[in-house]
């Protein structure tokens, strides 16, 4: 994607890539408890921001982390299976209002997707037609 095919940078060994991930998660897990209980910021969210910051400030290079990152992202659907199976433990909670809850959650999912998408598209329209800025983007 971002590599130039002529001089493709060499990827770091996978253990180094995992080491970088582990280091970032460790630091994030130390930062996360510093946030107050009514403003939780979990470890992975801090880790994502840290890793993005390290890349954006060119402290670590893309080829040091991208192979392991792509591997983990490719696994995400599988990694989510146990969370889905965890619903076994909430079967009791669902007894009272189960069907209504599921319908409301499905509708809420669609609401979030559609409303956020439309609001963004509207904002882009405003940027283009009110502030007259270029909004063309290349794929």
């Amino acid at each position: 994607m971002s590599q130039n095919s002529s001089t493709e940078p060499k990827a770091a060994p996978v253990l180094i890539q995992m080491g970088i991930f582990a280091a970032i998660l460790f630091v994030s897990s130390l930062i996360s408890p510093l946030f107050p209980a009514n403003f939780p910021v979990p470890t992975p969210v801090i880790g994502l921001i840290l890793l993005y910051g390290l890349l954006a400030f060119k402290i670590i290079k893309l080829e040091w982390v991208e192979k392991f990152a792509d591997f983990m992202i490719g696994l995400i659907a599988f990694l989510f299976v146990p969370s889905g199976i965890a619903l076994t433990a909430s079967l009791d909670v669902m007894k009272d209002q189960g069907i209504q809850l599921i319908i409301v959650i499905i509708l809420s999912t669609i609401i979030l997707l559609v409303v956020v998408s439309f609001v963004t598209a509207g904002m882009m329209w405003v940027v283009k037609n009110v502030f007259h800025q270029n909004t063309d983007i290349s794929e």
Binding site: F78, S83, I85, A86, V93, L107, S108, L112, V116
Partner: protein, 246 residues
């Protein structure tokens, strides 16, 4: 009986094996059905896994929740842990389209704040329509945030954290199964909008889905999962106060 179950099934390998097996069955069904949407590997894996656990608990004569906690969870929680490095991995697709982030970050942040606030009204309305009680409504409001953020918010606005966690999981399963169809149905053609929407509604699974649509969608979904959680920390309790839940 319980001691035997713990002896034979209490090691992590049962949970790991079951998770891999049901997911692979899902992949196989998806393939031979030519991609029928109900046979998405994640959805099949989840339903099959729950069914197997419920049946096994019945056959062995123990409670389902007890069986889940003592037989499945040792392995399941190991896999769940790997969601952490998988989540921070989304910094890479985000950084790959840093050009878009740099140009449009005010639009991104404002859209997520306004989008979430408007969504809260709609979710509140739908919850009322289907007759949820106040605890049920409060459990529905924080679901845009990632599970670890959504659960404490639910507790703070007098919802039930377990129900909110369930909502976050179902969000991801629904988006994984229906995203392509929903995007066509609602003509979500703006790549930035579609990406932010997928990240908000489907969390990290939504981001993986968005990456399949394009690098901009993937990048925007990744940033949405981060910013929406922080926005939800602020907006959801405010909204709950506004409608008198707390």
């Amino acid at each position: 009986m319980q001691a035997e179950i713990i002896k034979f099934l209490g090691t992590p390998i049962f949970g790991i094996f079951l998770s891999i097996a049901v997911f692979l069955i899902g992949k196989w069904l998806f393939k031979i059905s030519n991609g029928f949407f109900l046979f998405q590997p994640l959805f099949v894996g989840m339903v099959l896994g729950i069914l197997i656990l419920v049946l096994m608990a019945k056959m062995l004569g123990v409670g389902t929740t007890w069986f889940y906690t003592n037989a499945y969870l040792p392995g399941g929680s190991l896999i769940i842990w790997f969601l952490q490095p998988a989540t921070i991995a989304f910094a890479i697709p985000l950084y790959r389209r840093n050009d878009i982030v740099k140009r449009f970050w005010p639009v991104i942040i404002l859209s997520l704040i306004i989008g979430l606030f408007l969504s809260e009204f709609a979710i509140y309305g739908v919850s009322k329509l289907f007759g949820l009680d106040n605890a049920g409504i409060a459990s529905m409001l924080p679901q845009a945030a990632t599970t670890a953020v959504a659960m404490p918010i639910a507790g703070a606005i007098k919802g039930i954290p377990a129900v909110t966690a369930m909502a976050c999981i179902v969000n991801a399963v629904i988006i994984y199964a229906l995203a392509d169809w929903l995007i066509k149905l609602f003509h979500l053609t703006d790549p930035i909008g579609a990406g932010l929407g997928l990240g908000t509604a489907g969390h990290t699974v939504g981001s993986a889905k968005a990456l399949q649509l394009g690098s901009i969608q993937g990048s925007m979904a990744s940033i949405a999962t981060v910013i929406i959680s922080i926005v939800a920390d602020i907006v959801v309790p405010l909204f709950a106060k506004l409608v008198g839940l707390i």
